[in-house]
Symmetry: D2
Subunit: 138 residues, 4 copies
């Protein structure tokens, strides 16, 4: 069950991460998954028009983070402890990236999620990531 | 499209990996996925009856490997180049492990797959792995 | 500073992991590192005489685990939460594997170590792994 | 043996990655290692003054990439295929990050390196990463 919906997560992102909130748009939130769009801008690109590795990493990281907050609420200061990411295909130039994140474990101390990244309109994923967060105890 | 079915993959496993073939049973093969059972025996256990980390690693590795072979055929000498695995829950004692593997990329040089491992009858995954293979050129 | 020396760690391994203790030999223990030998036997081999992936995974896992226990003592029920491993070269046939593990972080909740694996007498590593453990609270 | 020195790598970075070249400074290059500084600016920060995950990922990625180019020369279009990164400590506010990268494998198809990241002046690493690159064939 989620405790934050799309509007609440969007407001949280805007308030807490003003530097990057404008890059992202939450498309959908369900109990176990969240879809996040990266509005690709020039700051995300590498020569040749492809999206940079750090931009893809950041998209996966934020998507899994928001999927966790949807479940545990905004009070949590979850911290990324590890990420394993595979870059599988070159993203298409000139289109946004869409990330589908799901939660695999939501424990007392650790949360684990994974993410598939697609160029908008593409059927094959451009990247895959698993991300782990430490959840602080009150 | 697959080029090896369940019977062909089972025969391949028996011929090429006689040391471990008896530990595994191929449950299902589709175009993008493969389900593999680890028949848990005493050699896979740690104190307390839980399945060992190496046994779970081996299950994910073999499942993704067979899912690749299903697509490219038995001539390939694919070699594991990397694996990132998350252990999320303690496997149940006394039951087999079921691994669902899918192929995310099948390139000329590299293949990438991921795997979810479940205790038989359990709804939540006990582990998650992504595995990369180098595919030798003729 | 270590709280368990080579003899104490060897005894712990023998008592707690009788199934696999005979496979391993602790070569050296220092404040931040531990060297562990895998006595390669037929149960660790794949066709062609190479050491299996699960055997290499297990070596890295046990080496980092013992390096943590050297620092925090035998009371801990540390559990592996994740491992990222790269297989870089084929191990030499007929020789043991030597693993050099070091601790990078020893926190209240998580410990992180990494490991380099060599065929005995070889200069280039055959594999590299990073391993994370959750440390239970009393 | 290196085929590009510090000056050649710095010029390459400036020519090929003008968007980010100003963020980095190559401190040292040896046969197997490279030290790279991230000049931390406001674009790398998160609330509270800590360096963002994507900025740390990017530092590790660029450092290992340059260490590979030092060995194989500027003609190569190496592409990152995977990265496993552990975030272990919060970087200190107000200081640069220093990354020490080393090459563990330089094969015909794949190169593997790892990286330790430190807050300048700090003794304990803030992050650890392993990065794999595919090396294109002529």
């Amino acid at each position: 069950m989620t405790v934050m919906d799309k509007a609440a997560l969007s407001a949280f992102l805007r308030d807490e991460f003003p530097q990057v909130a404008g890059d992202f748009h939450i498309e959908a939130v369900t109990d176990h998954a969240l879809t996040l769009r990266l509005r690709v801008g020039s700051q995300h690109l590498r020569p040749g028009g492809t999206v940079s590795g750090p931009a893809m990493f950041g998209l996966a990281d934020v998507a899994v983070y928001l999927a966790i907050l949807a479940r545990i609420g905004p009070q949590a200061l979850a911290v990324t402890t590890s990420c394993a990411i595979d870059f599988m295909r070159k993203p298409k130039a000139g289109v946004d990236l869409i990330c589908e994140a799901r939660i695999l474990k939501l424990g007392r101390l650790l949360a684990v999620g994974d993410a598939l990244l697609f160029s908008e309109g593409g059927a094959a994923p451009v990247a895959r990531a698993s991300v782990t967060y430490a959840i602080p105890r009150e």
